[in-house]
Symmetry: C2
Subunit: 321 residues, 2 copies
């Protein structure tokens, strides 16, 4: 059974929300929002397109979870606290089962990360999802890309390479055993936006971003904007147990370096804050691994136990140069 | 010559902006924005999809102008003042001529309406444009849809029907003379967001919205949310001279009632403010026409010189029920 555009919004996306600062939510020409007193607004927008960013026939609830989580990852990378999001959903047809599942996944992630849907647009067209997230930040406290200095140590949260492994598994380029199927599917569709970590790091890190295009490409962005180089000790890269299990059957190291889709934070820590960050890590309050050092110059160099290591390529771009 | 994703953003969309309240623009994980002191934020998001909302082979500069202008129209309808916008652009390929023209049109409209591009996303995929606009509003001063009362008079700004006529002309369903081609193309691609009018009306109107789906459909939204009905005097509908010129060769009246794409404001004025609004109109400070009255009930009824008039259909929906 088909539904009309206005009924669709009403039925699937118009939930009584009452999130913090929502003066007026879905249903008028604009949403009206009150940014918390004394805070700045952090906004980021990401589009996910069928068969570019996810398989078109994927579980709609998982597509929605991924769409919101990868957007929230950008707030995490600035150290911002989630407030609201908007959704532009383009759909070939108004399929109720699809919408049911999609909206369930969307609101599950929204609820988990305390981010309220306040508006958007539904249109008929090729399947794609654009989300804009809005977060709050104390002025002067954002984690930027441009403040790394030579001597700063480079860290990453969590594990690297699972995103690329998961995509390879979904695309049947990488065969995983039954017991690991769910693990990798979760890494792809339900990445964890490192919001707590980002907020924690605001006092200690000199630069940070989230790893969406691959560690080397994203670390390259820190280097460009900070006018520095970097040395990565590839033997230190944190690899998950499930991925390590397939270590000799897949390019785990290259996935960790270049794979993308990990949505972990890569951040740099100046010498003076190093003991604080290491203390957080040893107390279990921050899951992060030191993987290298910022150097002068402009290159990102990889070494494996001291020997120069040449990775295969340098990260995903939508329009290859 | 193809360009990479990051070069594309740098080359076409990264202009030194320095708009009001832009703490950090394009280039990091998030933009950082400072909402003006004492103001609320009004946000709205609209997607335009090739061959749904514009011909895929249209002039890219005009596509961009239309995309930003129709979004700004939502700010106008709330009485908000434009601040910033974000752009999610999905493109089949990174064609430099297309991008040149698109970005020129985009920044022309942005400059004209003093709205700064602060971020977004470029992806490879079917051609579509999603824009989110951000505006500022004094708390309690927004023009909402839900406050119309029986006895309020109904007004529209500008002229109606040109949007539908323009689309028909572009699609060769309506033949216009050489001298009118530019006029109608402008109505379609460069509609005027009624920002000044919306800000002016905040003190006088009880309800307002912008006419994107057609007068009757949009007036229906005011009625639903205000729990009222409406009577429209179709003989009073303001028709432009160029459209009136083709009066007997096209369904001008039905286009004005149901056509959509006009982006004029429809607003209601309580008796007590009627003389103020009429004074603004007679002094030439507001271009608007009285077209009917809010009544009790829930129906939108059309009359032509007092006789009930049945319009052909009731407005555009992306997913027909």
């Amino acid at each position: 059974m088909a539904v009309g555009e206005f009924e669709l919004i009403q039925q699937y996306f118009h939930r009584e929300a009452g999130g913090e600062g929502v003066v007026l939510g879905i249903g008028d020409d604009c949403a009206l929002l009150q940014v918390p007193e004394g805070k700045q607004l952090a906004v980021s927008m990401d589009t996910l397109i069928a068969d570019v960013h996810f398989p078109a026939n994927a579980d709609p609830g998982l597509i929605a979870e991924r769409a919101l989580r990868v957007n929230l990852s950008d707030l995490a990378a600035m150290g911002a606290e989630p407030l609201w999001f908007t959704l532009a959903l383009s759909l070939p047809e108004a399929d109720e089962h699809w919408l049911d599942s999609f909206s369930e996944g969307l609101f599950a992630a929204a609820h988990r990360y305390d981010c309220t849907l306040v508006g958007g647009d539904t249109t008929r067209g090729p399947l794609s999802i654009t989300i804009q997230v809005h977060g709050a930040l104390t002025p002067g406290k954002a984690l930027l890309r441009g403040n790394a200095s030579p001597g700063d140590r480079i860290f990453v949260t969590g594990k690297l390479g699972d995103g690329a492994a998961a995509l390879a598994a979904l695309e049947h380029r990488f065969e995983v055993q039954e017991e690991h199927v769910q693990y990798f599917a979760d890494q792809y569709y339900r990445p964890t936006p490192r919001l707590k970590e980002g907020q924690r790091l605001k006092s200690f890190a000199s630069a940070a971003l989230d790893i969406s295009d691959g560690l080397l490409a994203d670390l390259g962005h820190i280097c460009e904007q900070s006018l520095v180089g970097a040395e990565v000790a590839v033997e230190c890269l944190p690899i998950s147990e499930p991925l390590a299990f397939y270590g000799d059957q897949c390019p785990a190291l290259d996935w960790a370096l270049c794979g993308g889709d990990d949505y972990e934070l890569c951040f740099t820590v100046p010498e003076k804050n190093l003991s604080s960050v290491k203390a957080l890590i040893s107390m279990g309050e921050l899951v992060a691994t030191e993987i290298g050092e910022i150097v002068s110059g402009s290159q990102v160099l990889c070494k494996n136990f001291g020997e120069v290591y040449e990775p295969p390529h340098s990260g995903y771009q939508h329009f290859e140069p």
